[in-house]
């Protein structure tokens, strides 16, 4: 077979290449550029090497924000994944209630993120919000604008409310794809409900759960809009997650160099953790 060699086909790739260049590659390179230079305004830049990276990696402020970020992501994963799986297991598999449940579950995902933040901001206000007022009248001293603990509680609740649905929908998709014969065979084999979960449902959900955890990890590690509307990082710095801190440095203080270095470190942390997690989850399948 003689293949026609025609390199003109490459031109078809050009539009996509341009698009990716302008929305990803150029901004990223700009950030890299800022991260190794110092500026005092007037668009005058001086080479500063890896000084900003050293600063960021040694900065207690960055360490604190990273610690809060890790704590936040870990907390919501620990709550959302088991809760999502549990809800998916409890959802009906047949009948009209399936659509009702699916629509209900999809609802939080459809709400714009800043609206979610605003909703919870008002919902949790101690004087007028339904949640805040209720908690206080039940005798809890709850004020998320003043108490770090209350702020964290509200933040975590908000994320659980907003994003558990994603885990539910993915887990549900995994569950309904299990053929009936597995459940029938399990009944014949005398398997307990726990054994069915452990040996049929969980293994069959593994792929979708991997994706769910990965998505929730990345999204929660990047989270900005909702906490920024809800608490703005306060009280004090108690809910200042990485992205909020980054915006403070970049736009509040206009420290372009340190902000750029921090963005790159931030990006690498997400990339590294996602890669490690994905490799661990998929490694077992090969042998």
């Amino acid at each position: 077979m003689n293949k026609t060699v025609n390199h003109k086909a490459w031109f078809f790739v050009l539009p996509v290449l341009l698009l990716v260049a302008f929305n990803a590659i150029v901004p990223l390179i700009t950030v890299v550029n800022y991260s190794v230079q110092e500026t005092f305004g007037d668009n005058v830049f001086f080479w500063s090497g890896i000084a900003w990276f050293e600063d960021v990696l040694q900065s207690p402020r960055f360490h604190a924000a990273l610690g809060r970020q890790l704590a936040f992501t870990f907390t919501i994963l620990v709550i959302e994944v088991p809760l999502g799986v549990a809800i998916a297991l409890a959802m009906p598999r047949k009948g009209i209630w399936v659509s009702v449940c699916l629509v209900l579950m999809a609802m939080p995902l459809l709400i714009p993120w800043n609206v979610v933040g605003a909703m919870w901001n008002i919902f949790a206000l101690p004087e007028i919000g339904l949640l805040g007022k209720t908690l206080n009248s039940l005798g809890f001293d709850y004020n998320y604008t003043r108490q770090p603990g209350a702020a964290w509680f509200t933040l975590v609740m908000m994320d659980v409310w907003h994003w558990t649905s994603l885990v539910v929908l993915l887990a549900y998709a995994g569950l309904v794809s299990i053929p009936d014969a597995y459940y029938q065979a399990a009944r014949i084999d005398g398997a307990s409900p726990f054994a069915i979960f452990r040996y049929i449902q969980l293994p069959k959900m593994k792929r979708v759960l991997t994706i769910a955890i990965l998505l929730r990890f990345m999204d929660s590690f990047n989270i900005y809009t909702e906490p920024s509307v809800l608490t703005g990082g306060g009280p004090g710095n108690s809910t200042t997650l990485l992205s909020i801190d980054l915006v403070k440095i970049a736009l509040g203080q206009f420290d372009l160099g340190p902000a750029a270095a921090m963005s790159l470190v931030y990006f690498l942390v997400i990339l590294l953790m996602s890669w490690i997690f994905y490799t661990l989850m998929t490694r077992n399948e090969e042998n």
Binding site: Q184, R187, A195, Y199, K204
Partner: protein, 358 residues
């Protein structure tokens, strides 16, 4: 182990069955002897799987009873019935090894590990899985997985019957034969009641001592493979079993005897005197060319190896016959003779004089 009795059993998937068509399984009475090898044969959608699932307890029948021995198990859940079932698609527990898969039904029943070990080793030996015991079950081929499913049924000592729901559907043709012989061999060895559902007559006839033929939710005939071939009780059985199937030729009936366009055809049975219309059933194996008999015209001859299938048109109706290899085949017009002992009158589909005849 016990005899299985189905009494007045019927099932509908609808909550309020009214018409005949609402019943997936019409009322039936069946007995399965302890230790028999049975096949449930019928086209897709005839109710075979429904019947099987009722026996194993995955379905509760709309009415009627299921008895194991003398015990009524109709309301008993699957896990209490001591039934093993192998499904169309192999079911294995992916995360477990082959050994753990085989041990699973025993461990669920809290059998001690020493017994589990001995039992699994024995079954692995029978099903040729010994060399794979430590492998992950998910890595096996379809036939390997189906052997595991089978092994999980065999490993239990408390099993009343093993049910097979078209277990060879996803198996490669050259392995089908092997697995089928294996099943037959296992049946001879452990003498458990086995019920094998299939729509493949070869599988049914080679596996079973007794075949139950089903069509649109009812049992049309129960018999040995020979009986099904020699004396079909219903034209469906004649047609479904045998390749090519039985010829079914519409005929007139007068005083119980069959006539085709006024020509008397000798038959093994007689119809009721009141009957005027019926059908003649004769297998292609019992039709021969002859000098007198019914006029026919040869339209097609196909070579099937050791014999030829000759398609003729006899008084306007298609009639097939099987001619031995090398036998002269007349061209164009000829006459056909039907062997009287194997030619029968059917009325409304049922063998005249037997059940269902008018």
């Amino acid at each position: 182990m016990a005899r299985i009795t189905l009494s007045n059993l019927a099932h509908s998937y609808r909550p309020d069955p009214v018409s005949d068509a609402d019943w997936a399984l019409k009322e039936l009475n069946l007995e399965w002897d302890d230790g028999g090898a049975y096949a449930l044969l019928g086209p897709s959608g005839c109710g075979k799987t429904t019947l099987l699932n009722i026996i194993s307890g995955l379905l509760t029948p709309t009415h009627g009873r299921v008895l194991f021995g003398d015990e009524d198990v109709t309301q008993l859940p699957t896990e209490k019935r001591h039934i093993a079932q192998v499904f169309q698609f192999p079911v294995v527990y992916d995360t477990m090894t082959v050994y753990d898969n085989l041990a699973f039904p025993l461990r669920n029943r809290r059998v001690d590990e020493a017994t589990v070990r001995a039992k699994v080793a024995e079954i692995a030996e029978m099903t040729d899985l010994t060399s794979m015991l430590n492998r992950r079950a998910s890595g096996l081929t379809a036939d390997g997985k189906q052997k595991i499913s089978l092994g999980r049924g065999l490993v239990r000592t408390d099993v009343n019957a093993i049910l097979f729901d078209e277990p060879l559907t996803v198996i490669d043709p050259h392995l089908k034969f092997q697995l089928r012989s294996k099943l037959k061999e296992l049946h001879n060895r452990i003498a458990n009641t086995m019920i094998y559902v299939t729509h493949d007559q070869t599988e049914a006839l080679t596996f079973a001592d007794k075949v139950v033929v089903m069509n649109v939710g009812e049992v049309v005939q129960i018999g040995t493979p020979e009986e099904l071939f020699e004396t079909p009780q219903h034209v469906f059985v004649g047609h479904f079993i045998g390749s090519p199937g039985m010829n079914v030729i519409p005929c007139d009936v007068e005083n119980g005897a069959a006539f085709i366009d006024g020509v008397r055809v000798a038959t093994a049975n007689e119809a009721d005197a009141a009957v005027t219309k019926g059908e003649l059933g004769v297998r292609p194996e019992f039709v021969t060319f002859s000098n007198d008999g019914l006029e026919a015209r040869v339209v097609k001859v196909s070579d099937a190896g050791r014999f030829s299938i000759v398609e003729t048109v006899c008084h306007g109706k298609p009639v097939k016959l099987v001619a031995p290899e090398g036998a002269p085949i007349p061209s164009e017009t000829t006459r056909l003779a039907f062997k009287p002992d194997n030619t029968r009158i059917y009325v409304d589909g049922w063998l005249a004089g037997a059940r269902g005849a008018a």
